[in-house]
Symmetry: C2
Subunit: 491 residues, 2 copies
């Protein structure tokens, strides 16, 4: 009867996947195409579908089948492990707590949307207290059930197996080294990057997507106020924004292409099953940062990038590859995380990690968050936000239940990207030649074999990384990469 | 406890509405924006959501609550009546029959998609037999449960309370009169209508939407291979196509605006509840045909239409209102239903009604459908399709389970539109002046009060129509309208 139980579970998780996929399409529609008046109704529909998916997951007959099912081969075993993990994480939270969390989060997000532009921390504070209280309660309950500390329980939801002790130790290494590197290579005010009309930038962006392996038959490009990627391998939606510096719109597309390439390369035989999904958010962020930061800011890719710009804009908008490369690897501390270069970026994350762990374990009162945030920015990056809108209100993460414990995945993702990059450069000796002519197939092939195509076969991102690079996650490859790219004279 | 049962039902039907609304967004996405490769996955997600909605509707605890619930006021009573109607219609069909129907229909639709352009009736025939068998079985089961004939059971699904005896009698009146009118007013080959670049036509279409009361904050306009409308009042999606005659793209927009205006005017206090939905498909089609055929082919509206065209295209693309009106009311039998004028249109429907009732009651073998179709076209419209692609394969309806018994609603909708138009013209003596300057507010206000805003408060479309016009549905107003518009010298 075990196989019957397993078959029923496969059917159940396929249904959950379909409901979640529909939710993602509604969210994409709300953020790109929907009439303004539609937002409330769409929010309601998304909440309904999420509740349906949650009920399918925590159902008693799901628990029974999970207890009875047995796997016949390793992918089934991995699938069953991931099913059990999802079920356990979802079932420990009481339904009324989840509802209260959603209410607190929805309220806080609305408050944040007006408090941020006005830099009004006092207005945000009560909402923050509300969210923090519900996050703490949920993390404590999940932690007790899983034998983890509350913050480790949050990390577990984003990057299974990741523990804060290891995160803190890696971040300490970065804190010790990065400020010195920044001081050595900082280049003053940001130089203007490539520029051009939206219509033409969009064409360059589309060519970049095809170049990376995301043709129009499988992937869309749209505009939204914050870039994001959503979908399955045959239905990929990338967005970017053209409101900032034009060159940033293209870098955002390259970043999202990294996420999209991961989605496109997930094991198609297991589409819709937990084992066919991405191996957590650290791996996901590693893939976007690998493409945007490591690969597409290389001297080799600058050659092809310059060619793409000349093709679209003619000699007027043309860039010399060397000067383009200088712009791409320009380093200068700034207040905004999402605009940071790869050297200062991890320090932005460390600031947030310090604050959210202190809030969670009660050593920082929410009332003192803004000062603590600015203090950390000053000590790590040497700049002070001019107001809370540039400071602790900068990101939406702390208004969202699933935003807590998420920040570390950005910096860990960058470390992981560097570690993968080091290994794949050794495996692909012609990589620079390929990149210089815009041929991403060898890179994408390597990533598919060693990362994308494994889905959730490995039980943690460290296990995946060890399989791909021979080592668990560390800071070594990232620091070696910075030396090679930014301090070439010193090696 | 009755009120608890009613409250639970309201919650359940709100959930069903949200799931169905998500399905409609997925369908809109598939038909307008989705990458080609996404179609299979989206089809699967739509099937999953439909199954979820169906299970929520036929659930045993839903049946218990429907038995226990009591209404406190007339709108609750109407809501409960509609809940019971939906539950009954859905529950009588065994789940495995529904699944077999979906399979037969999906298969037939695929076969039809290639058989139609090739005019290959023989290739389509086995698929047609499969669909017909499943439709017959379902209609027989539903009919037995509801005390109706199989064809009446199909009508009941589209226009509750509508019976084939009444349909046949109205159609007999049309058959007796329309061919003679057509012979008297036919105008030879279709004159070229307004023309212009897609970009500019789209701007005219957008202005038409705002004119009718569908601003961009609430309604989108997109392109698809067949025009359609989907959504709720705050989230309306209209599509048209620019592949045929340019003027047809605008008429299609006006047609869809009629559907959209109905959706926009449904009682917002009951959004998501059965009583807040449209009162069946005859009323829905009456609203699109009222706007497209009755209102927007009037001499009065031609004045404003000519102004819209001049605004966008300048003097080059300008039309004299009288000449424009002549084009709009041009009558000539053609083979294609969706391109037909309002005089020949009902005859196209009569052809299909004859065929599908004969197929259902077994007096026509599917092998003889193509000949029977052509024969009826010849006798009613005086033309013969050159091949089955122009004939019985013209429409997709007979590949779809819910397409059977649907055709009559088009012609009945036109009769209903004429009956409403006659009444509202009497109630709005300045209507022509309003239309000539593009002011649709008085018209929309009347429709909202007497049709749209009543939702499913009335138990049938005849009850609704009687409330609005004092009479149940008949052919009188339509025939008087044709005389007034097409035979003015004779009245």
């Amino acid at each position: 009867m075990e196989n019957d139980a397993y078959r029923r579970l496969v059917q159940r998780f396929a249904t959950i996947h379909d409901v979640n996929a529909a939710t993602k399409t509604l969210d994409w529609y709300a953020r790109t195409k929907a009439p303004k008046a539609a937002q409330t109704g769409l929010g309601c529909q998304i909440a309904t579908l999420s509740k349906q998916a949650h009920e399918l997951l925590v159902d008693l007959s799901c628990a029974d089948d999970l207890a009875d099912a047995e796997a016949r081969e390793p992918w089934e075993a991995a699938n069953l492990r991931e099913m059990r993990r999802r079920h356990r994480l979802a079932s420990v939270l009481p339904a009324d707590l989840v509802e209260a969390q959603v209410r607190a989060s929805t309220h806080a997000h609305l408050v944040w949307e007006t408090a941020k532009p006005e830099g009004d921390f006092a207005a945000f504070l009560p909402a923050l207290r509300g969210v923090l209280e519900h996050v703490s309660t949920g993390a404590r309950i999940q932690g007790q059930a899983l034998g983890l500390s509350p913050y480790d329980a949050l990390l577990e939801g984003h990057d299974p197996g990741r523990r804060n002790a290891a995160v803190t130790s890696m971040f300490a290494e970065l804190e010790a080294v990065l400020p010195g590197i920044v001081d050595g290579v900082r280049g003053g005010p940001k130089p203007p990057g490539p520029t051009g009309k939206k219509r033409k930038l969009k064409r360059v962006a589309r060519r970049m997507m095809s170049m990376i392996g995301l043709p129009e038959t499988h992937a869309r490009l749209d505009t939204s106020s914050h870039p994001f990627t959503a979908g399955d391998s045959d239905n990929i939606r990338i967005t970017t924004r053209y409101s900032g510096r034009p060159g940033e719109a293209l870098m955002a597309v390259l970043h999202e292409c990294g996420h999209a390439l991961y989605i496109a390369g997930l094991p198609s035989a297991h589409l819709g099953q937990p084992v066919g999904a991405a191996r957590g958010m650290t791996v996901h962020e590693s893939q976007s940062l690998l493409i945007e930061m490591l690969v597409c800011r290389s001297r080799a890719f600058a050659v092809h990038y310059a060619r793409l710009l000349r093709d679209e804009f003619g000699e007027d908008g043309a860039w010399d590859p060397n000067r383009l490369h200088e712009v791409l690897i320009h380093v200068e501390p700034g207040v905004t995380r999402v605009e940071a270069d790869e050297v200062t970026y991890p320090l932005h994350v460390v600031v947030r990690h310090r604050c959210e762990t202190a809030l969670l374990n009660g050593t920082l009162d929410p009332a003192d968050l803004s000062d603590a945030f600015d203090e950390a920015m000053d000590s790590l990056l040497g700049i002070r936000p001019r107001n809370p809108g540039e400071g602790c209100l900068q990101d939406p993460h702390w208004t969202l239940m699933r935003g807590w414990g998420y920040f570390p995945t950005y910096a860990l993702g960058l470390l992981m990207a560097a570690q993968l990059y080091e290994t794949l450069r050794a495996a692909l000796p012609d990589l620079d030649v390929d990149l210089a002519r815009g041929d991403f197939a060898p890179l994408a092939g390597w990533l598919r074999e060693h990362v994308h195509g494994r889905g959730c076969f490995d039980s943690s991102s460290d296990a995946l990384l060890e399989h791909a690079t021979g080592r668990p996650l560390g800071t070594g490859a990232f620091l070696r990469h910075l030396e090679r790219r930014y301090l070439p004279g010193m090696t």
